[in-house]
Amino acid sequence: MATTAVPGALPVTTAEDEVHIERHGVWKRFRRHKLAIAGAIVLCVIALIAVFAKFLAPADPNYIDQVHWQGYPLAPNVAGHLLGTDENGRDLLSRLMFGAQISLTVAIFAVLMEIVIGTTLGAISGYYGGYVDYWIMRLTDVFLSIPLLPLLLVLTAIVSATSNKAALSFGVIVVIIGATSWPGTARLVRGSFLSLREKEFAEAARALGNKDGRIIFRHLLPNAVAPIIVQGTLDVANVIVLESTLSFLGFGIQPPTASWGNMLANAEANMSIAPWVAIFPGLCILITVLSVNYLGDGLRDALDPNMR
């Protein structure tokens, strides 16, 4: 992952060995972080459940158990519903499994988009400096000054006013979150590039007549990858919480599609008679986000011990 081999510079005979040693060190440091390992394992399990939800779920997530359901949520372990049903008589466990698909895919795609935008803008900003840098950084300041949740809520409200609520599909949520949460990454990458562009290997790459684009993406970027991976991992955690908050408030993933957030939207009204409807989806969010945060912490320790 974090190769400190010197790209672009004259070939060094020991480069291969150095890479090997470095990778070994990363894995060794990561392995020491027991909670990060635990987080990674839990995430793998959740991801597998999400991928194979179709085969693992005891029922269709939108199937209403009309035989047993009588207008109130069924309690856990009643009529074959391991975690009970929601207020519409749909199997809670099945909805949680399909909800995992939404939470994880939204988070992964939104963070990928955020990284692409943030890295590109940050790299350009840090590499060129001057006016380009000034204006990109002002734009970054703007998006860092507007609190993200209200901004996302307004953007989703605009989309739903443009057509209707159903238009708030999975893709729209991804694009809206990805397009607004890049400033942190941009600042981070800019910081790395400001110091990297002064390094000797960057100068060597320039002296050899490489084009700017090639220097940025082939020579400098590989050296700035470690903090991006760490930041991206921690942002996955943030996006899972953001998406579930949006869906909870009714401006995210729309029912009947199950998401951990919108499953909680109607839970409050029934909380005194059916607390399990409120407890389980939130527990899923907490466990997933906690795992991602521990994984991110472990990656930070492993990839860049000097970063903390």
């Binding site: 860092l144 209200p150 809520l153 605009i158 909870f248 409050e268 409120a278 969010i285």
Partner: protein, 323 residues
């Protein structure tokens, strides 16, 4: 110092203009702009919309509309809120005290607990107390605020707590039970939303205080203080804490956007009559003037907090040169 404050303030002004311009542009992307709520109304015809658009000047170029909005704002007029049938300034001012009460008490409480936790963790690094506090911090940072709010309601409002033969239950909604002022009643209503809003900040700030304190403990002046024969408590609190808190000032200011977002969620769930709930209500009807006013105001607050942090940092830390 004075020049530094002035210069930083002047730098913030173009940022505020840029923020408002970008927000205005984004909000105008709604199909009818400020007339969006009318588009769904079957009694209002397309001709009515066109006439309203002309009368309100919405057929002018976007930048002209923005400049006219800006002109009004500079004269203290944020427009008219359609969802509340009152001027936006009035709607916001009515809700501002409730939000400030919630945020203010929450910041104070989080600072107290967060800093205390941070010190406890730092004085004995890698001990059980450090481990417990660090674990708590991870939970706090991973906790979805809205779910925490639901769980707190479930535990303290729905079920209540039975202790010493008494059964306590806290109110789960609103700011007071009646219009007459009763301090005990107000405190009861404030307790749950304040705790929920503080959770994240306690987590972040305790982690930050811990690492800052660990840095300070390593320094020479701390060793000198100990060598002078001062008690460990005096060394940590009088010599250590003062210096450890300087970077904490920055993280408190940087928490402002998260605090605003947290307040939106907390106020919605606890039916707290503050700005966050006003915003959520305005969102459903796409109340253009109110949304614009709210977003500009909270962004202004964030910029202000950052400015205050920079100034406070330069003022507290004599090592920082501010010219």
């Amino acid at each position: 110092m004075f020049n530094y404050v002035i210069r930083r303030s002047i730098q913030a002004i173009p940022l505020l203009f840029l923020i408002s311009a970008i927000l205005f542009f984004i909000l105008s992307k709604a199909p009818g702009g400020p007339l969006t709520p009318y588009l769904q109304n079957p009694h209002i015809t397309a001709a009515d919309i066109a006439r309203l658009k002309h009368n309100l000047g919405l057929d002018r170029p976007l930048y002209v509309q923005y400049l006219s909005w800006l002109g009004n704002v500079l004269r203290g007029d944020l427009g008219y809120s359609m969802s509340n049938s009152e001027p936006v300034v009035q709607a916001i001012l009515e809700r501002l005290p409730a939000t400030l009460l919630l945020m203010g008490t929450s910041i104070g409480f989080s600072l107290l607990i967060g800093v205390a936790f941070g010190i406890f963790a730092a004085v004995k690094p890698y001990s059980i107390q450090d481990y417990l506090i660090t674990t708590f911090a991870f939970f706090g940072q991973s906790m979805p605020v809205f779910w925490l709010a639901l769980m707190v309601q479930l535990a303290f409002a729905v079920y209540g707590v039975t202790a010493f033969g008494y059964h306590f239950a806290l109110p789960s909604a609103g700011i007071s039970s009646s219009d007459t002022f009763d301090l005990g009643d107000r405190v009861q209503h404030l307790l749950l939303p304040m705790l929920v809003l503080s959770f994240l900040n306690i987590a972040t700030w305790s982690r930050f205080t811990r690492s800052s304190m660990l840095e300070v403990i390593k320094t020479d002046y701390m060793r000198t203080a100990t060598a002078k024969g001062l008690s460990p408590l005096t060394v940590i609190l009088r010599h250590g804490l003062k210096n450890a808190l300087i970077p904490v000032v920055t993280i408190v200011a940087l928490s402002a956007p998260a605090l605003v977002a947290g307040a939106v969620v907390t106020e919605t769930i606890f039916a707290w009559p503050g700005m966050g709930r006003l915003f959520i209500n305005a969102l459903g009807q796409f109340d253009f003037a109110l949304l614009m006013g709210y977003l500009v105001l909270i962004s202004f607050l964030v910029v202000l907090f950052n400015l205050l942090a920079d100034v406070a940092y330069a003022w507290l830390d004599p090592r920082v040169k501010y010219d």
